[in-house]
């Protein structure tokens, strides 16, 4: 029935859905336009937003280029690569990564990771939300002021449930509706239009800033299927930079105090120097690796040859190829079975990477599109599908990791096997162990290991409201549903009585529904505060102009105004001057309004004299 109505709705303007590559290093929006995906541009440049957030001591956050620019002079307030932390716990984070950070990373008593910046704590979801908000704002500007409310967001194929959920929560905090979370390799293949090529097997090699992923996809009749994925969540261009930073440290060793290496300013400057050298080495046989920090008594310059760099990079590339080999094995394929190779991520510009990937797969990779843009372009293509533009593209995904529950003995029982097609649902029956037991605890796990302790804990939930019955009698049906985005939802019902049991899920690494709500509320309050602050500043500026004007004409006022008006004016000026340093919006507003009223008689007098002057100098006919 509803379908007839939908046709009527077709006349309404289509909702704008953009594709967003929410990257570790950079984020980028793209949109479908005139039959193809296009990266959104602001002032003729791709709206590439560095995934960097700077937070000042007063709590003001800036995102993107401005934030990245602050990383030199204010590293301790500048958050980079937050994507590495999405949906993870502190103990899961790479020690070496944490060590390189110029700010503290802590966790809440519930194990939620937080970065400590400017005396405040931010969850990765909140930092990502700031980035997404900026991406959406820039996209809006690029589209001539359209409001962006819906998006397709990409994530690494290896992201588990908690990480996908964290991404979804970040978007929600940013005021964006996520219509679909798609895997980055799938997006990259879409960007190259590989779905139009009939059938074949595609390997997507994605060496980004922070993560490495390899995915094998089969494409048949426009249908994408992820055959296998593998990767290393702590291998990327950042590691190439880190290798160069180590080189730089080696150069300085002995000539400076070791403690200098721990200085935030050194860390950031060294990182930027390394990045610069790395980029130069992609086209030149040698590059300068230079650092100059006079305030730390540091000045070093060294030439790095490509050969030297490649020797440093080789073990990292080798690690990536091991992942490729594992992905092939999982998909039961050999390198020769791969028909197309797609490169994603800025680090794939490194000639050694290209050469090694070509050698491994025995065929030259696709390099036609900018490796920094392919993922966003693919997300835009998928956004077009969601807007109802096309059913030509169909993404059929599998879940990369098994999902299960902890059993009594501490083993992991898998309910959904890895590489199962999604969406999928599995139902399991449970019962009670004790008479009149009214609740059952469950521990949801993700991973391939046999013991619950070795799997990743996704969350715990408690099923309550089971009617009193002898042990073993209640039949509780628990349903796992893994949706098209790879996000798990759990529901349950007591079936023998039909009593609906209620579920309370406590995510191990993510935000609870209440936390998301609280953050949303806080961000609304912040938005209100921001608005009020802006209003106060505007009013004070206005008061300044009014005061200048009134004081300049104080002579005229004394000459022409009655005593009462003059008194009012002096009082209002005094109050306004005081209000100029006030932090109370209301007070500032009252002072401004009083001054406005008190200057009214003066304005009238002034206007009169202006008119008189004008008229007196002219003939009647000119008036």
């Amino acid at each position: 029935m509803g379908y007839i109505e939908l046709e009527v709705l077709d006349d309404q303007p289509k909702r704008v859905v953009i594709g967003i590559d929410l990257g570790t290093t950079n984020s980028l929006p793209a949109i479908w336009k005139e039959g193809r995906p296009e990266v959104l541009e602001v002032e003729g440049e791709p709206a590439l937003i560095p995934s960097v957030v700077h937070v000042s001591d007063d709590g003001t956050a800036v995102v993107g280029r401005t934030a990245r620019a602050r990383s030199m002079d204010d590293p301790a307030h500048t958050v980079h690569s937050i994507k590495r932390f999405m949906g993870r716990s502190l103990e899961e984070l790479d020690e070496a990564v944490l060590q390189r950070l110029p700010y503290q990373v802590t966790q809440t008593e519930r194990g939620l990771v937080q970065v400590e910046v400017a005396g405040k704590s931010f969850t990765p979801q909140e930092i990502s939300a700031l980035i997404l908000r900026e991406v959406a704002a820039q996209a809006g500007v690029a589209m001539g002021g359209a409001e962006v409310l819906s998006a397709v967001i990409t994530v690494p194929a290896y992201f588990d449930d908690a990480q996908r959920q964290a991404t979804r929560d970040a978007a929600r905090l940013a005021g964006l509706e996520v219509l679909r979370i798609i895997n980055e390799p799938t997006a990259a293949s879409l960007a190259y239009g590989l779905d139009q090529k009939g059938e074949g097997t595609v390997a997507v090699y994605d060496l980004g800033g922070g993560t490495f992923d390899v995915s094998l996809l089969s494409i048949e009749d426009g249908v994408f299927q992820v055959l296998s994925t593998n990767g290393d969540t702590s291998l990327g261009g950042d590691d190439l930079d880190a290798a160069l930073v180590d080189l730089l440290r080696g150069e300085l060793e002995g000539s400076v105090e070791r403690s200098v290496f721990e200085e935030p300013a050194f860390r950031q400057a060294a990182r930027l120097a390394a990045e610069k050298a790395k980029i130069a080495l992609s086209k030149d046989p040698a590059a300068d690796l230079a650092i100059s920090l006079p305030e730390l008594g540091l000045n070093a310059r060294r030439t790095v040859t490509r050969e030297e760099f490649e020797a440093l990079a080789a073990p990292l590339v080798e690690r990536s190829l091991h992942c490729c080999a594992r992905a092939l094995k999982d998909a039961d394929l050999s390198a020769a079975d791969v028909d197309e190779v797609v490169l994603v991520g800025g680090s794939t510009r490194v000639p050694l990477v290209r050469a090694e990937v070509e050698r491994f797969f025995g065929r030259p990779p696709h390099t036609g599109l900018d490796p920094d843009q392919v993922v966003a372009l693919g997300a835009a293509a998928q956004a077009e599908v969601l807007m109802g533009g096309s059913r030509d593209i169909l993404l059929m995904d599998v879940t990369p990791l098994s999902l299960g529950l902890e059993t009594m003995g501490g083993a992991a029982e898998k309910l959904i096997q890895r590489n199962s097609r999604i969406p999928c649902s599995v139902k399991e029956g449970f019962t009670t162990y004790a008479d009149n037991q009214s609740a059952i605890d469950f521990h949801v796990l993700q991973g391939e290991r046999e013991l619950a302790a070795d799997c990743r804990s996704l969350g715990r939930f408690k099923l309550t409201g089971i009617p009193p019955m002898p042990a073993g009698l209640p039949r509780v049906g628990v349903k796992f549903h893994l949706d098209a985005d790879g996000i798990l939802t759990v529901s349950a019902k007591e079936e023998s009585t039909g009593a609906s049991a209620s579920i309370e899920v406590k995510p191990s690494h993510g935000l609870t529904e209440e936390e998301v709500e609280a953050m949303l509320e806080a961000s609304l309050e912040n938005a209100k505060r921001d608005f009020e602050e802006r209003r106060r500043v505007d009013l004070i500026a206005e008061i300044g102009i009014m005061l200048r004007h009134a004081k300049a004409n104080l002579g005229v006022a004394e000459e022409r105004l009655d005593r009462e008006s003059m008194e009012d004016l002096r009082e209002a000026i005094a109050a306004a001057e005081e209000a100029q340093s006030s932090l109370e919006l209301e007070l500032v507003q009252i002072a401004r309004d009083t001054l406005d009223r008190a200057t009214m008689p003066l304005a009238t007098v002034l206007m009169d004299s202006v008119v008189k002057e004008a008229v007196s100098g002219k003939k009647l006919g000119d008036v």
């Binding site: 029935m1 509803g2 379908y3 939908l6 909702r15 219509l179 679909r180 048949e220 009749d221 249908v223 091991h322 080999a325 594992r326 094995k329 998928q382 599908v385 969601l386 807007m387 109802g388 059913r391 169909l394 993404l395 059929m396 199962s420 097609r421 999604i422 969406p423 999928c424 649902s425 139902k427 549903h481 949706d483 098209a484």
Partner: protein, 201 residues
Amino acid sequence: MSTACPSCGAGLETPLACGACGVLMLQEDAVCPFEVFGLKEAFHLDTGDLRARLRRFTRLVHPDFFALEGEEAIARAERNNALLNEAYGLLSDEARRADRLVSSLGGPTEKDLGSMPQAFLMEVMEWNETLEEAPPGSDAMLQLERELNEHRDQISEQIGAALTPLPQPGDESLAAIRQGLNARRYVDRALARISASSAPS
């Protein structure tokens, strides 16, 4: 099995959705996998045709195509696509397909049958000995892998023959098929151990 779309009256290939008007049908959890794919219950099936149907039907039920049609439509699409994927997982796996047929014909379940014959269990113990003692990639291990694969093919062939044409519901032959399926589990488990031991870490 309903064969006409309640919404537009067109013929239905799958009970999940109408290929003509796109309407999503509400289905029970326990819908028969063969029915989902518009196929008659049978052991042998054309895997190419099965994949083609999966693609065709996924285009009808995938949540992506209902993204802007509201929560209810998306939820129904999620559910129907999950049913489709579940049915595909079952039909595309020979052992699960046979298991389903034995169950739906009223044959014994895995547990009904009790333990395997003594001779078979002796054989399993021999495999386990090799699995524990022979190093991965050794001749003995490769020999065992070959034997197990042959064994599995043999069981499959027997099961396929016994299920074609389908026996009558409750037929005595179902017990033998179940026993074959149980034996296959032992073989599959042993093969999984071999591939786990030779996997690169």
